[in-house]
């Protein structure tokens, strides 16, 4: 007999329950609605295309807990609680229903043996998960997790829910044995233990537990919008509405048009964020996985991707409502008065240092179990700093001016871009009109002394394999990657448009494939140029070399009895899921023993050069490249291999600073292959 079937004086229990539901659900709906309206302050984002793909990923990562389970302990912990709640929610609905109609049963499953058994089992699983969570928060205390009152309250509420559910069941079955089922294994066991207390006590226990359970449910509901636990509502949406654009593609903005219409070209205020950016901030669970993998956070820099999202959330919640009010009154500047006294979103809430610390390595984005996109927010705030405020360091200013003047980061003469190639006998497209492969050399390969050796090795391998290829020579210019990632969208588009024209002409002249030894050029041409009308078939040199070795067109023969550690470049690995090809090429060299650096592949740590950091001084915290080198040295290799000129530069800088340059040479995959091919 449910507690609401009892009258409290002259008040019927059902009436009390109805009032409780109205208050709990009413508070939840009021606050959820206000959050939803606040979200609408954000600008547009189109996230309903490709519904099948969205749903597939949703099933895998929400129902399947895919991303969470990449880390066993917290993954299993969360999955127990999540799957538990999926099942128990049905039981909660039934409990509420029985409070209103004594004989209420869920259709189909209500009262069925599997359902009763599952609810009982999952209630226990949730308790196990919560115990694991308490232990992790209080005893293990990972550095990226904060012990907040919110977290403890939530875990306590969940424990209370499970305990009161068991007690409701146990007292209930003890008082009314006919209401129980043998499939309620734990409930029945509990009832047997409680039976000696007698009918009156058991009945009273049932009533008290039932009310405690129901009031906790409703209280939790009202508390949700003010807690990180809101993610149970937002995360399923956030996962389905995730960004499906190519990983290496930043949001496009027509800079000139925006300026003419006096629209912002970067993000500096809440309305410049998209509604999805705001939903991202609501969804953050404060799990800290992003921060735990961020090279800036690991090396003690101010940037913590988790704090970035939480700071944005606090700012949106504090200052968004005023904006919404202004908008509703048709007065967009309604909040300007108070906005002036308020902190600036970019500069105060999110400091310039935090924004400049990001190497755009994407470790945070890939680690986030609820599909928050940190990098695009950071770059869009950088756009504000660069294009609207000119608030940049001397090193970035020099980079931009050099790119603008000469199309390379060092202001070296355009005319000397192909100097390296004449020694190797590599023709330009003009000299070799029959070529079908275009080797995009990139600024490093063309000008940097170390990378020129890699360019030479790769070109000689192509010659040996009989590939008909050519380079652009002085017609090539920086792809614009460092400019775009540093927030200079205008400069990026200037450089990129020129390249898209050149490459489209090359395509018409018969070029079928573009190959490059630089993952940054690779990413920009393949993922970003389509936004500017250039769609090309692009390969990274390790992909082409792997194919040439497999086809037998390159035969590595000379043995190298060495342990080699391969470092995954971010823009090849995380951005383009290319992990195996470079390893295959290395493994094709007889005698090579591959050692995996921890972490590697999807979790590999950045070398520190991405996001224009190759051209910026690292002023804060420890040096990222030193930390990465230490990770590599920990597996005791005799040589480090990589497949990116940025990574090469960072590793060689680290080995020479640490005085191990001679014992631990750093080489490109192409160089190691060339040395073995006879």
């Amino acid at each position: 007999m449910p507690a609401t079937q009892i009258s409290y004086g002259f008040i019927p229990g059902q009436l009390v329950l109805l009032v409780a539901i109205a208050v709990g659900a009413g508070l939840f709906l009021r606050d959820a609605l206000s959050l939803y309206r606040l979200m609408r302050v954000g600008g547009p984002a189109h996230r309903t295309d490709r519904p099948l793909e969205r749903t597939r990923g949703w099933i895998l990562n929400v129902l399947g807990q895919g991303r969470l389970l990449t880390r066993p302990y917290p993954g299993i912990m969360h999955a127990l609680i999540f799957w538990g709640f999926v099942v128990i929610t049905f039981s909660t609905v039934e409990q509420l229903g029985r409070g209103l109609w004594a004989d209420f049963r869920l259709p189909v499953i209500g009262g069925s043996a599997p359902f009763l058994f599952a609810v009982d089992a999952f209630q226990l699983f949730v308790l196990v998960g919560v115990a694991m969570a308490f232990y992790r928060r209080i005893r293990v205390r990972p550095w990226y997790l904060n012990l907040t009152g919110d977290a403890i309250l939530i875990l306590s509420l969940i424990s209370t829910l499970m305990v009161t559910a068991f007690l409701t069941e146990g007292f209930g079955i003890a008082a009314f044995p006919e209401s129980g089922s043998q499939w309620q294994v734990f409930g029945t066991a509990l009832a047997n233990a409680l039976a000696p207390l007698g009918f009156d006590v058991n009945r009273a226990g049932h009533v008290v537990s039932w009310w405690a359970h129901i009031l906790t449910v409703l209280g939790f509901l009202a508390y949700l919008p003010h807690s990180k636990h809101l993610h149970i509502v937002t995360a399923p949406f956030n996962a389905w509405l995730r960004n499906l654009a190519p990983k290496g593609q930043l949001p496009y903005i027509n800079v000139e048009e925006a300026l003419e219409q006096e629209k912002p070209v970067g993000v500096s205020e809440i309305p410049h964020l998209s509604w999805k950016d705001i939903l991202d901030t609501y969804t953050c669970t404060e799990c800290g996985r992003c921060t735990s993998e961020c090279p800036a956070s690991i090396t003690d820099k101010p940037l913590s991707p988790k704090d970035l999202i939480l700071d944005l959330r606090r700012h949106v919640l504090a200052h968004g409502p005023a904006l919404r009010f202004g908008q509703a009154n048709g007065d967009a500047d309604g909040a300007a008065g108070s906005g002036e006294r308020a902190q600036r979103m970019v500069g105060d809430v999110i400091t310039d240092d935090v924004l400049w610390d990001c190497t755009t390595c994407r470790a945070c984005v890939d680690a986030c179990p609820v599909f928050i996109d940190h990098v695009s927010k950071i770059v869009q705030m950088r756009r504000h700093l660069v294009m609207e405020e000119s608030r940049i360091g001397k090193d970035l200013q020099t980079l931009f001016e050099n790119l603008d003047a000469t199309g390379n980061p060092w202001r070296l003469p355009r005319a000397r871009r192909a100097d390296w190639a004449s020694a190797v006998g590599v023709p330009t497209l003009e000299e070799a009109p029959g070529a079908d492969v275009l080797y995009w050399v990139g600024c490093f390969g063309a000008y940097d002394d170390r990378a020129k050796k890699v360019a030479g090795a790769f070109a000689r391998l192509l010659q040996r394999a009989g590939v008909r290829f050519a380079i652009l020579g002085p017609a090539e210019t920086c792809t614009g990657d460092p400019a775009r990632r540093a927030g200079n969208e205008y400069l990026y588009q200037t450089l990129a448009q020129q390249n898209v024209e050149t490459l489209n002409a090359a395509k018409e002249a018969g070029i079928k494939t573009i190959v490059t030894a630089c993952p940054h050029c690779f990413n920009t041409i393949s993922d970003e140029y389509p936004q500017l009308g250039g769609s090309f078939r692009v390969m990274h040199h390790t992909q082409l070399l792997d194919a040439l070795v497999r086809e037998g067109r390159l035969r590595p023969e000379a043995a190298r009895e060495e342990a080699i550690a391969y470092h995954d470049p971010c823009y090849l690995g995380r951005y383009h899921s290319t992990y195996d090809e470079p390893r295959h090429v290395l493994a094709s060299v007889p005698g090579v023993e591959l050692r995996e650096i921890h972490p590697c592949r999807e979790k590999a740590m950045c070398c520190g050069a991405g996001g224009a950091h190759a051209f910026m001084e690292e002023k804060r915290g420890r040096r990222i490249n030193h930390v990465r080198l230490e990770q590599a040295m920990a597996v005791g290799p005799q040589r480090i291999a990589t497949a990116c000129p940025y990574c090469m530069m960072m590793f060689e800088d680290a080995t020479s600073t640490k005085g191990v340059a001679e014992q631990l040479p750093v080489q490109d995959v192409a160089e190691l292959l060339e040395a073995s091919v006879r």
């Binding site: 609207e388 000119s390 001016e401 050099n402 000469t406 202001r411």
Partner: protein, 260 residues
């Protein structure tokens, strides 16, 4: 306060300079150009002064058509107007001819309170033109400024010298030359770049300035370039490999040179 900045647009520092032996000058065709970094510093100083005290900045340059790249840059940084002295009649001008043209252009301005120039340009380093301009305009020249202050009727500079600096004050209007380290020139805001495109560059010929062949151009030049050549290359340095006695070898070398 209206400030005029005179500066040059010079071959980009990425360019390997070539000398035209017949003209005895640098080759300027098919070469990318940039606003002289020294002129950018002078402009930056002028912009900071007008941002503090109000007013506007006009950029004046004499040069070939390609100079427009640098003029746009000056406008993007924040100059509100630009005058380009562009005429074949100017070709071959010596420093005095250049100064006459610049002074004439400045006099055509509705008003000016201050002229700011770099101490010297980064390509030819003559360092003469600014004082010639001041003389022609009849205003005081305050040179080698490492700091500039304006106070209503006067301008005060910290004049860099080898021992330290001297504080020099003059009444406005005046001309100031800035040292290269005086500031870090700004990176133009996008708004500035876009706005610069819409500003019309005022082109002036010799005739517009009422200057003839006796004033400007090769015919008026009293300086003659007799010959131009690359500087003699310095011999290769001596590399000492330390095999235990490296310190002694260096000490001996320094003793020989009379340094120690």
């Amino acid at each position: 306060m209206h400030v005029v900045v005179c500066g040059k647009v010079i071959p980009d520092s990425s360019v390997t300079l070539e000398i035209d032996p017949d003209a005895k000058r640098m080759r300027r065709t098919d070469v990318p150009h940039e606003l002289d970094p020294a002129a950018a510093s002078a402009l930056e100083e002028a912009l900071r002064l007008t941002e503090q005290h109000g007013g506007s900045v006009t950029f004046v340059t004499m040069g070939i058509p390609d100079a427009s790249v640098g003029i746009r840059r000056a406008l993007a940084m924040g100059a509100s107007a630009a005058v380009h002295l562009l005429d074949d009649a100017f070709a071959g001008s010596d420093t005095l001819g250049t100064a006459k043209a610049l002074a004439a252009a400045i006099r055509q301005q509705p008003r000016f309170d201050l002229v700011v120039c770099a101490t010297e340009s980064s390509d030819s380093y003559s360092g003469i033109v600014p004082v010639q301009v001041a003389t022609l305009l009849g205003v005081p020249a305050l040179t080698f400024a490492k700091q500039v202050f304006v106070d209503g009727e006067t301008v005060t500079i910290h004049r860099q010298s080898e021992e330290g600096y001297a504080v020099v004050t003059a009444a406005l209007p005046a001309l100031v030359t800035t040292t290269s380290g005086i500031n870090e020139p700004r990176y133009p805001q996008l708004k500035g770049i876009m706005a610069a495109r819409k500003i019309e560059i005022q082109q002036r010929s010799a005739a517009d300035l009422s200057l003839g062949p006796d004033d400007v151009g090769d015919s008026a030049a009293r300086e003659r370039v007799l010959s131009v050549g690359a500087p003699p290359s310095r011999g290769a340095g001596r590399l000492i490999h330390d095999e235990g006695d490296g310190g002694r070898e260096i000490a001996d070398f320094l003793a020989q040179a009379g340094v120690i």
